[in-house]
């Protein structure tokens, strides 16, 4: 039972991150290497807010907004001038972001490990079907499901979502039809950054907050995004479930093989169905 809960909470955490990454890819056509750094930044900002106010919930509400604003600023000042060029230059810029973000974090918060305490509301484990379940894990599952649902509503049902989908499948045509594509790009980059930070905030009480945390998570994120199909957000949630559950089961039964199997899965997917396991024919934005 606890394996399932841990697997599910891991899945939703991965999905929060992968959703941002895949959204940015769908819109900008570039893999944002700095996604892990934004995740880390989210955790640090949350730590700072908790430090000031003592409330995790204020951190949860505001840290993603701070990081999203930063993401928007980064997009406008650096990415916007290079869209007309080859995608490689945008990739290189996201590399530059990693260096700058990591250094800023080191400058502000230093090298020590930081800790965000589990919010009091979810600090007690709950007995469930004969085993003790950490209730914060249950909160992650519920919160993750809520955010995913809101995201789907936003993308599938709202006007903004329609504009985003239009602009990512054909930005020139969207531009011709009167959509301000560069503003949509900024919005999507900000949304993606905010989702990365949200992932960081949610993960903050579970892991020690340190500089390397972004690095270790970004590869898992790539795996989810690729297995789900690049730019395919519905694929991403299935892939996140698959990977999260597989990892949780793996760590329980065969911890040595987890990393290896993850990569074999990734390689097989790339070779046989490069557009993702869950894609229909053609590319879905």
């Amino acid at each position: 039972m606890s394996t399932i809960v841990i697997g599910l909470s891991l899945s939703f955490l991965l999905f929060l991150l992968a959703a941002g990454l895949t959204l940015i890819f769908g819109m900008l056509g570039v893999i944002n290497f700095a996604h892990g750094a934004l995740y880390m930044l989210g955790a640090y900002v949350c730590y700072q807010i908790v430090h000031w106010t003592g409330s995790f919930w204020i951190g949860l509400a505001f840290a993603p907004i701070v990081v999203a604003a930063l993401g928007a600023a980064m997009e406008v000042t650096t990415l916007r001038p290079v869209y007309s060029r080859d995608h490689i230059y945008q990739l290189l810029l996201t590399f530059g972001f990693i260096l700058v973000i990591e250094e800023s974090v080191r400058l502000i918060w230093g090298l020590d490990y930081k800790q965000v305490p589990t919010p009091a509301l979810f600090s007690q484990p709950i007995a469930m079907l004969g085993s003790q379940i950490p209730s914060y894990r249950l909160f992650i599952i519920g919160f993750g499901a809520l955010v995913s649902a809101l995201l789907f509503l936003l993308l599938d049902r709202s006007r903004l979502g329609m504009v985003i989908r239009a602009a990512s499948s054909d930005s020139e045509m969207a531009q011709t039809l009167g959509i301000n594509v560069s503003r949509v790009r900024t919005a999507v980059f900000a949304l993606g950054s905010g989702l990365a930070a949200l992932g960081g905030v949610v993960a903050a009480p579970l892991v020690p907050i340190e500089l390397g945390m972004g690095f270790s998570v970004i590869i898992d994120c790539f795996v989810v995004v690729i297995i789900g199909g690049l730019g395919n957000i519905k694929g991403a949630i299935l892939a996140a479930l698959l990977l999260g559950m597989a990892r949780a089961a793996g760590f329980t039964y065969a911890p040595e093989w987890v990393e290896l199997i993850t990569f074999v899965l990734l390689i097989v997917t790339l070779m046989t169905r490069p557009s993702g396991l869950f894609s229909r024919k053609g590319r879905s934005a």
């Binding site: 290497f33 290079v82 060029r85 260096l99 250094e103 790339l270």
Partner: protein, 316 residues
């Protein structure tokens, strides 16, 4: 039209000056710095064959780089240094071949991601499953340097000359390759692979050859780095190594022979100089990258090309 352009002469002069200066005087630190530049420069020159010439963005070069390091570390005590260095090149070629068997089935962004995944698999294997050979995360200390002609290569100055010799040979071979029919064919593949196929080139074979040659360069430079540092560890196989060489190559100017070397030089010198002024040099390096990407898309080589044009204009 002359074969040599002004900007290429400029670049060659800068690279040559970089190698000559330490011969005269120079401290131990700058000797070490230039040795590092030569090793990474060789890596970047090889990387650009696949990236700048064939137009394929590989994120898996760390695998060949590390394989070369391990090959040298494991074989040099048994078979001698130069055979081990050749074995390192061979290790790079074989690994590149294996990678290409998988990675060349897809193209574009998927090629990048697949090479990244395969190289990361090699990293995980080397740091866990192959611990008996690779020493796991601890790596292998005490990687030897050459013992030839009675020269003491454990002296950094003597080893620098050795590195320079390998570097010059490597760059010379690459210079020939780039102007050879093979080089032209690669450019054709980059410009329009469908047309190249129609003309009758075997595009996949060309790409595979370029990838393997590039792998040989990565293997040799990885071996030399291990030898320079006396140490090899899975860090060399980590994907950030592939990222570093990409940054260096782009910074210097992709698709040029010596541009990548200048990129390496700027990268290493910035790292060295900035770290003396401030401990936050990595962030400043990041800002420099961002500015270069926006304002210098063709890298430092592009800057030289501009200077060359201004020079020509003025002489008329």
């Amino acid at each position: 039209m002359s074969m040599l352009r002004l900007d290429q002469i400029f670049m060659a002069a800068v690279v040559a000056a970089m190698m000559v200066v330490p011969m005269m005087s120079a401290s131990e630190e700058s000797l070490n710095l230039i040795s590092l530049i030569l090793v990474w420069g060789l890596f970047a020159v090889g990387f650009d064959l696949i990236f700048g010439m064939a137009g394929m963005l590989s994120f898996g070069h760390a695998a060949m780089f590390g394989a070369g390091g391990y090959a040298l570390a494991l074989l040099a005590p048994q078979v001698g240094y130069v055979p081990a260095l050749l074995a390192a090149a061979l290790a790079g070629v074989v690994l590149a071949f294996l990678l290409s068997v998988f990675a060349l089935r897809v193209s574009g962004l998927f090629f990048s991601l697949l090479t990244l995944a395969l190289a990361q698999l090699a990293y995980i294997l080397a740091s866990t499953k192959l611990r008996a050979f690779t020493g796991g995360l601890d790596g292998i200390p005490g990687v030897p340097r050459p013992a030839m002609f009675g020269v003491d290569f454990y002296n950094n100055r003597n080893f620098f000359y050795f590195l320079m010799a390998v570097f010059v040979i490597g760059v010379a071979i690459m210079a020939v390759l780039r102007v050879s029919p093979f080089g032209s064919a690669l450019k054709a593949v980059q410009a329009n692979d469908v047309r190249a196929e129609q003309i009758g080139y075997n595009v996949q074979r060309l790409r595979q050859c370029a990838f393997m040659i590039s792998g040989a360069y990565a293997g040799v430079s990885g071996a030399l780095l291990a030898s320079l540092m006396f140490y090899v560890s899975p860090q060399m196989l980590h994907w950030s190594t592939s990222g570093d060489v990409l940054i260096m190559t782009l910074l210097g100017g992709k698709g040029t022979l010596l541009g990548p070397v200048l990129g390496v030089a700027v990268f290493e010198v910035l790292k060295e100089e900035l770290s003396q002024f401030t401990q936050h040099w990595y962030g400043i390096l990041g800002i420099v990258f961002i500015l270069c990407t926006i304002f210098l898309p063709n890298g430092i080589a592009g800057l030289f090309a501009k200077l060359g044009r201004i020079g020509k204009g003025a002489s008329k």
